[in-house]
């Protein structure tokens, strides 16, 4: 079924090489975009929790803007609109970037900053989930606000949010496919090109699907490993901590009929 992928295309390469080249751009976009997203998201997420009202408001503004505009619209804004808004010389320089880079950089910035807004919310939730006593203890020891975040709050918050960061990792690499709309020849774009060249739609997109699926499994597995590696000794993994509570919850259900009789 996938035999057609190994046939030679018009440009002398095999179709599978087109797919692999697309995969390369997809991975590059997801990988570098992730680090931008993580760095910006961490800073903005912390910003949302600080005492300083000005900084908290700016961080909030960032999150609301970048999280609430569809990623496709953001892609167009970075690619088509930004160069027009910049001073002429700079705008022209951006427009004249050589082919893959002219689409790659706007896509990178777009995905990085969009995902950053989502990560910022996770970071904020992680920080707010920590007991207040942690900050108090750090302050009581004389640690400054910065030190308290750096050595006490953030290391714990990040451990808490590893599971939800997993879905952000998977989110950013799936969103890379949007970059085809501004002309980046990533995996989905290459699949479409193969389908148009060979009329083997099922094969082309089937192969792309399998590759995306494989990537998702790899991403998921690596996050599980990371979660395990950073787990604090003496604490139970989230799953085990929840299960006993489920058992506790079962009991009130058992006693429910009596309670209902009382209601009667």
């Amino acid at each position: 079924m996938f035999g057609v992928l190994f046939e030679q295309a018009a440009d002398g390469q095999r179709y599978i090489d087109w797919l692999l080249s697309g995969l390369g751009w997809t991975l590059a976009l997801a990988f570098f975009g992730w680090w931008i997203a993580f760095a910006v998201g961490l800073v903005v997420g912390i910003g949302r929790t600080v005492q300083n009202g000005m900084i908290a408001a700016l961080a909030r503004l960032y999150v609301e803007i970048f999280r609430n505009i569809p990623v496709l619209v953001q892609m167009f804004l970075w690619y088509f609109v930004l160069p027009e808004l910049l001073p002429n010389a700079l705008g022209n320089a951006i427009k004249q970037m050589s082919p893959p880079w002219g689409s790659f950089f706007p896509a990178l910035v777009c995905l990085g900053l969009y995902t950053a807004a989502r990560i910022a919310e996770q970071v904020r939730a992680g920080i707010e989930a920590l007991p207040k006593g942690q900050t108090e203890a750090a302050h009581a020891l004389g640690l400054t606000g910065y030190m308290t975040y750096r050595y006490v709050i953030v290391p714990q918050a990040l451990r808490l949010i590893v599971p939800s960061l997993t879905s952000e990792v998977m989110g950013i690499y799936k969103n890379t496919s949007v970059a085809l709309t501004i002309g980046l020849m990533e995996l989905t774009a290459q699949a479409r090109q193969i389908s148009e060249a060979t009329f083997q739609t099922f094969t082309a997109f089937g192969a792309a699907t399998l590759i995306y699926l494989g990537l998702a499994l790899i991403a998921y597995q690596s996050m599980v490993l990371i979660d395990r590696a950073v787990r604090i000794p003496g604490t139970t993994p989230a799953k085990d901590a929840i299960e006993p509570r489920l058992a506790d919850d079962v009991q009130p259900v058992g006693s429910l009929p009596e309670a209902m009789e009382v209601v009667k």
Binding site: P131, G133, Q134, E136, A137, A138, H139, A140, L141, G142, L143, T144, M147, Y151, V152, P155, Q156, R159, I232, P233, G234, T235
Partner: protein, 253 residues
């Protein structure tokens, strides 16, 4: 006479004057005055909601007071963060819920502040931490994490962690209230030893045996104010106010 009053004043390491603290419309502390001399051991007691925890939380500005003055070792606590940080360095605090840092091992819990705040080198901080963990008899657990220790052990680590900053005053906020009964004594013993070493201590606690044994003065609070101050003998034998008598009846059956 005046001179005597002045020398007494200068050795007061904690001075609280007309302290008021509100939470919304609730007044937690209403015009509280208190002074603590260097080396003095004070036990603060009173019914729940009387403001005793709020009082000692104000002493290192974990809680900001609304009016009045707090002077710790000559430095007044105001919005100036540099002063606040200076005070916090000299004031150790032990919480009811331990508040150890779960992601750091026991010895790292004790090393963090000395390294980052006092600027100690890692080996020096380690040596000091092990020394104080030995003092609270828990050095053999130095490389474990807080989650692997019992409550009593965690609280002793918390005491060692505070001592690693070599504070001039130690504040205890109901240090045994969250402990299982069989672990209360190990923590109290540690506190008694600390008192014997001459540490200035302000303890909020319901452990009246501890108060009797080490306190120089018992401060009884109710409804946000100091109702009675006396040496433990007088306080337990002949409390002056009806409120204190009622409180004592309730905790000693």
């Amino acid at each position: 006479m005046l001179q005597e009053a002045q020398t007494k004043r200068s050795s007061d390491i904690v001075v609280v004057e007309n302290l008021v603290k509100r939470f919304g419309r609730f007044t937690a502390l209403n015009d509280v005055n208190l002074s603590v001399r260097t080396g003095e051991r004070i036990v603060v007691c009173g019914p729940s909601g009387s403001g005793k925890s709020t009082l000692i939380r104000c002493l290192n500005r974990i809680e900001k007071h609304d009016s009045g003055r707090i002077v710790i070792d000559g430095l007044e606590l105001t919005d100036r963060m540099t002063d606040v940080t200076c005070v916090r360095r000299e004031v150790g605090m032990v919480f009811q819920s331990f508040n150890l840092f779960p992601h750091l091992s026991v010895v790292e819990n004790c090393m963090l502040a000395p390294m980052k705040v006092r600027g100690l080198s890692r080996p020096d901080a380690h040596e000091r931490a092990i020394g104080l963990l030995r003092k609270v008899r828990i050095h053999d657990q130095a490389d474990k994490y807080p989650g692997q220790l019992s409550g009593g052990q965690q609280q002793r680590v918390a005491i060692a962690r505070a001592l690693c900053m070599q504070p001039r005053i130690m504040l205890f906020d109901e240090p045994t209230s969250a402990l299982d009964p069989e672990m209360v004594n190990e923590v109290l013993e540690t506190m008694v030893e600390l008192a014997r070493d001459g540490m200035t201590m302000v303890c909020v606690t319901h452990e009246m045996g501890f108060a009797r044994e080490v306190a120089d003065r018992v401060v009884f609070m109710d409804r946000g104010g100091v109702v009675e101050e006396a040496d433990p003998d007088t306080f337990f034998r002949a409390p002056r106010t009806e409120r204190a008598r009622g409180f004592l009846r309730q905790i000693i059956h």
